[in-house]
Symmetry: D2
Subunit: 294 residues, 4 copies
């Protein structure tokens, strides 16, 4: 089976490399010719459009920046649905809102095609190492068919439920990340101001009930987690801009179902404030600057 | 060496039991005669006042409900400082504000006595099992002297730095717990409303960047963490009232040093709202009711 | 000159009545035949489509529920732009986001047509009494041309600046209304809980620095403002649902320009919480229930 | 009747001047000799202590910076209660928490003395012009006795109810001021960023439902209210520090009665953030810097 891949950005490019390394034939398309050339140099075959990729592939993967791009690539005249055969499975790995994800699955079904939402987490490092997490929304049989392919690129392939549920899990997780990163920043800055060594503070929290990924793995105070962005000038990792994009998806999805998200909305505005001060391209853990830069 | 113990409540009583089990001689005092009688029935010796306890002990432990009580027990005419000998070490395990903790250490030093702040976490279950965490603020030599005694009651004895730092670490940890419990409640309720199975949602978060103690150990959605209060009608554990008391200590300490705590203050008000609705004596994870009870 | 009017809802119907009362010829369209019949009974002439209205009118007014409807009515094949003559002025009185408003003005200009945004405030009572406020975004000469017509329906015709500025002013005003209504609710409930008579409290605030429209005209505590919805079972006035719709427009517009709105976002979530509890069709001042219903 | 006055700061000094201008005999005390000398130069008589002031006066006024100072001046050995005769009325014009105010009224009553809480608003300009607002908590007959004296210093003498209610009204009003000033700052900054002239925006809001003291009298955008601090480099007026002190009193009083204040707590943290950036001595309207200084 040949695998199609559309969207060769920071995430897509290393994912293609891992598919090739696993011995799969990969057909690629991107609007950026340089990205295509690099993939071809690595062993992929180029196609002329998303439609062409779909026409030649048993499974098509997409990693695209926004709902607008995803709609365009799937629904346009030279898009995926126009080219995909009856048995081709479509897997969108972009992070988009659950409503759009479900609309696309329905549009695909109306065309007789099977589509899956499978957003990823793990960042560019995870993409390169093949240790990504995939959060998959799909019927059980469909999940079983795509899991072996995703295994070449990821370590955790989580079946989240039916169509759209991959996106729901992704935005819920990322909203909680935003809240706990902001909260960790508050208490690290508070503890330091009250005279406690940040390394000792983090170490105590990490064996107690405040423990979280943002305290024990990606601590926002410089020098606490040696490999974290905070210890390297807040070079991303995931940028504050992308964090805000994900928060916005979650807050908007909550609005659709009339669900309040008080801390989520507060984090949203704090990231907005951080970005307004020019920190948008830094790592999301730079949110601690709001509590230190005074 | 005999150990004195003042404050035989839900935490103090099982801590005394563990000291006795370790073969130590324990002298106790509490204003509640029934609590004293229970300790004596377990092998402790009763004294007539805090002063008497201190006069007969090489090390005195206190677990009391508020800064006011702690001041009273240490500073009153029949209090600890009036009775303690030169070599007696004083260890306050209550959770109070760092400023009061430091004032008491200074008051003890002015009397030629050595005092330590060592607030605990782990709840009544941890107190019974002897698996508490102690967060200790003390000079290094003093820490070395008390650590062996604390080991009889706890698993993690963390040296947080000089006087007051145990309290700082405690309130920082608990503020982060409040924030992440509230945040976890928001996203669990959001994900469920968007159609995802809460168990699947929690399981995905727990291997991702949203992972925290409140998602993987004390999840607020019923049935997700089988042993958590949420799975048992929100029977506490730590009550919402006590959570709010700890948040208040942290927000007030932040105020003293002019440090903003945006999410902390939002959590504070949400717990206030929960308690105003009559949930104060339920477990702190009942905060999820604000997002479900509609 | 004949005036076209599209959108004969709670606001549009009485506005048409006032135009007719002023002796103007009015041509109307609505997708709801009953609304059209009522306007015709009052003296208006019915047209078969938005395009037909525009083809026969020197000035076209629209009052529609959302950006999607506005786009549809202006841009569809049988829409306003397809019918309007070179000298016809188009005036949209709907409340929509500034970005969409500016896009429509540009689309009209590309067709050689002049369009104005003129959202209104004052509610159905103001629409009936002809005392609405119009917040108009238009070049100065265009403003001068439409002002006399708007005067038949409103008391304050405010020139807010160029295209889109009417919408900006509307959403800024309404966001501040949401914040001050929520804030007034907090302090009215707090003062009452602390034992002060709400009428006395409001009266003192209304001559002091806390004074605002929500305290002195539409006070949320029952009985304080005799004519306010709070004194009549929170019968709207403007509903909580519409308040939230306007808050959402403002928070989204802020997001577009990376501007933080901390209190705006908190009010947004509190209205979400109110609506989730089933109060969406009550007056916006019912937000005080979050502080009383415990 | 002679009037005693204790506390000759920015507010007290001009209040004494207005009492003297009205022909009253005034006996003063302050711990700052220069303040006493200035009052004496204006015609007042100096006493040696608070007790001495009380012993010679039929009515004693106090304006002091904090609950701690008020307690000291009333309850100390050389304090007011030690000196006041049976018929002397005590009027505390300081802003303190309602609980302390009520405790002091009870302490006075236990000594057979009548005490009133009468906090003021209007700032130093109002104190000089004799146009202050007094918010008075007192029984009706006592209010009638003191009103004529307060009239020499203020324009609005509001009877808020029984003991403590003056403080409740004061902190409720000031909390709402904090919220509406912060909210006005958000929307002024948002409107400007979206391209609307701030003067036009304010003018439209001031005839609409967003209207408040902070928009129409003390607008935070420079140049909108010509006499406001914002138009004079944010020279205070009331400082951000004092605003935060008042917010803290209100949020703490709310905590005592388990009343949530979501926007109040958010404003509290935003003022904390402003002060942490070094703006504490500027006018409270400088909160807009959080939305502009980026």
């Amino acid at each position: 089976m040949r695998v199609g891949f559309i969207g060769l950005g920071n995430m897509g490019a290393p994912m293609v490399a891992n598919l090739l390394k696993a011995g799969l034939a990969v057909i690629v398309f991107d609007i950026n010719p340089a990205a295509v050339a690099a993939a071809v140099a690595g062993g992929a075959v180029a196609a002329g459009s998303a439609k062409d990729v779909a026409a030649q592939s048993g499974l098509v993967l997409t990693t695209l920046p926004s709902p607008r791009h995803v709609k365009q690539v799937y629904l346009a005249e030279d898009g995926i649905l126009a080219g995909a055969g009856k048995d081709t499975v479509l897997v969108d790995c972009s992070t988009i809102d659950p409503q759009t994800a479900r609309e696309l699955v329905s549009a695909a079904a109306a065309n007789g095609r099977q589509m899956v939402d499978a957003p990823i987490s793990g960042g560019t490092l995870g993409a390169q190492a093949g240790t990504l997490t995939f959060m998959v929304g799909a019927e059980a049989d469909l999940f079983a068919r795509i899991e072996p392919v995703l295994k070449h690129m990821g370590k955790n392939i989580i079946h989240c439920g039916g169509p759209g549920s991959g996106q729901v899990v992704k935005i819920c997780n990322n909203l909680l990340l935003a809240i706990s990163m902001t909260g960790t920043s508050e208490v690290m800055a508070l503890g330091a101001r009250l005279g406690v060594d940040p390394k000792v503070l983090a170490s105590a929290i990490n064996t107690s009930s405040g423990r979280c990924f943002s305290s024990d793995t990606m601590n926002p105070w410089p020098g606490v987690s040696p490999n974290a962005p905070a210890s390297h000038g807040y070079a991303p990792g995931g940028t504050a801009e992308i964090m805000l994009k994900d928060i916005n998806l979650a807050v908007d999805a909550a609005r659709e179902v009339k669900q309040p998200v008080m801390l989520g909305a507060a984090s949203q505005q704090l990231y907005q404030m951080l970005i307004a001060r020019g920190w948008g391209e830094k790592d999301l853990s730079a949110i601690i600057q709001l509590y230190r830069d005074q």
